[in-house]
Subunit: 423 residues, 2 copies
Amino acid sequence: MKSALSALGQRIAPPPISWLMKTALARPQLISLAAGFTDNATLPTKISRQLLDEILRSPKTGQPALQYGTTAGEPDLRELTATHLQRLDGGHDHAHSPERVLITGGSQQLLYLTLEALCDEGDIVLVEDPTYFVFLSILQSRGVEARGIKLERDGLDLPQLEKVLTRLKNSGELRRVKALYLVTYFQNPTGATTSLAKKSAALKLLKKFERAAGHPLYLIEDAAYRELGFDHGADVPTALTLPGARDRVVYAGTYSKPFATGVRVGFGILPEPLYTAVLHIKGNHDFGTASLLQHLLARALATGAYARQVAKAQKNYARKARVMRQAMAKHFPANVETWEASGGLYFWARLPNGISTGVKSKVFQTALKNDVLYVPGELCYADDPTRRKPDHEMRLSFGGASEANIRRGIARLGAVLKTFIPA
Amino acid sequence: MKSALSALGQRIAPPPISWLMKTALARPQLISLAAGFTDNATLPTKISRQLLDEILRSPKTGQPALQYGTTAGEPDLRELTATHLQRLDGGHDHAHSPERVLITGGSQQLLYLTLEALCDEGDIVLVEDPTYFVFLSILQSRGVEARGIKLERDGLDLPQLEKVLTRLKNSGELRRVKALYLVTYFQNPTGATTSLAKKSAALKLLKKFERAAGHPLYLIEDAAYRELGFDHGADVPTALTLPGARDRVVYAGTYSKPFATGVRVGFGILPEPLYTAVLHIKGNHDFGTASLLQHLLARALATGAYARQVAKAQKNYARKARVMRQAMAKHFPANVETWEASGGLYFWARLPNGISTGVKSKVFQTALKNDVLYVPGELCYADDPTRRKPDHEMRLSFGGASEANIRRGIARLGAVLKTFIPA
């Protein structure tokens, strides 16, 4: 008898990183620089306790927090979110009206819903090379193809973007292209931040190719790490501030990473007709994100507790990043190229060509034997048949590990690298 | 320029009930017996406040509640869920091991994930006639066809189920059938509870037709209202207790409705290979339900606070149901057939044939003019081309309205019905 599973059910695969996680759990002495966890010690237990106490103290605020809300989200939180984004964008008066805000179960859910609304099997989405691997998992599971565009330290390699679009146009495949996906702030996995100039150029290029595509080409801006910048105030404006953005930019943001990942609340800003489609699909998923979490975030935002917590988290990650930077300078061979981010949770390291970091590589296996774990770079590259996957890079996270473990982990990893890399 | 939306994005429609909700919001004097809201006054604000305070008081319990967990759910909650189900099923030692439990964002998310893993466009799912309308929305949006099987007061019309399966077999369509979906306890919308004998017979019938289908035919048991029975202890065992259930029954349960709908935590028990497929799809949706909610529920279950809250809710709904029953007896014309449930949130009323209750009907419009709202029965019937949709029924909810409003609403509705129904 055959399986009854759908095409999606048959395609779906374990997340590439689940094996790494299991490995980490099975070896408690292992230092994981792999997981994208946030820092435990700075989690807002005290703030959350107080805010929840305030919310649940009176029936007037407590009952709505324990009752169904609407699918789009709590009106207060949608309003606060629009204001919050405007402030992040330096007061820019763009299209962030609360009516275009959708509250979701983390930004992850927004990405999933957007792809459901946009892509059929066989469609194509352009992504950064490398990019966020769970996004790649969504594409793969839904039978959507990816084309990788080389990522530089300030964003996409624009000439390559144009070349790929031209090639797709010439091969008649452009009508299958639906969107370009960018992780624009302290990118996962590289830590790179896309400049506003590059966002603008990418949006213009998409626009230019729309006629040949026969339909809108969307720019999906994933800003999950935006509020984890170390240098508060040095924020690049979002693509939403650009001319022409109103109908073409999907913005995915989250409160989870800067506040608490256990309070999973994200949000999206979407143009029509995507907004309505995504809203109704979410209605079928869960008819709205849990009210209790939304009320907690709304109160945190309204009282300033959110801003204080974010400032605290930023300072903490800045310190941990500094520790990792210093350790890498001290322990890594000089010919390992490192991308040191000014925010987020990740650094990116590139070994000399030909020295593989993959799961089956000697580097990875030796690191594991020496009780230190990283994410092999190849897991962050799309299955794009038009180019070979680089396999000599690694993602290193300073989010979850303690400062002592960051030092120890990088020292162990440096020692391993030195045995494989000629000085 | 064409739309870039996917087939799903183009098919997705507003939920049928959203128009009703908007109508209710726009007329504050209107009494809504339409919404499936739970009772505000009995929401566990005090209990939740206390439990959250306990959880967040110490870093040891507070930090994990604010951190990422695993996609399958908190180990404690999965364990407690397995035990909870075993107790509900009278200690039955079935396949409810914690390893088969998946924690989800309400049972709604589990239904969505299960259909993603199981159904392609063009597939068929058998449903009750009438059934839960959001389930029908999922099917419609995903291009999955539904076939309705008449629902009697104790479950499906079994001869009709066999007839439909036989017809599908003869027409060569059986290979497109993937599952039978039953809302087995105090069904939405009719309040009917399926007997164990009927669950057993349905499961056997599915088994019988599997050879012709060429793949497993699953029984999806949606038990969302199970714990809202008025007569505690009179619970029918789940289909999971039946022989042959282990590989064929998907069970969807929830803590949200009995505890608090703003704390959206549901769960599923699924056989392989469905469990793994659904788990990985959930990984792409949200990599796990918010930890804070899971820790709250786990503590509520472990301390007995959950059981106390459920007992309180049951008593409250029993009282509100009694109020509605008495009001219907007093105000409804004698030839309106009512199905009075012994649990859940809904009663079902059937007008004499030929008297439509639909949104455009005189009955509905007059009721609206008299400030009382119900859910037209026709919204709860699948688009099944093989039979005509009944349009002379209505769902009446006693969940959200106060006792005074239930009395007033039913009196208004009774007066409307009397003008249309000859005595």
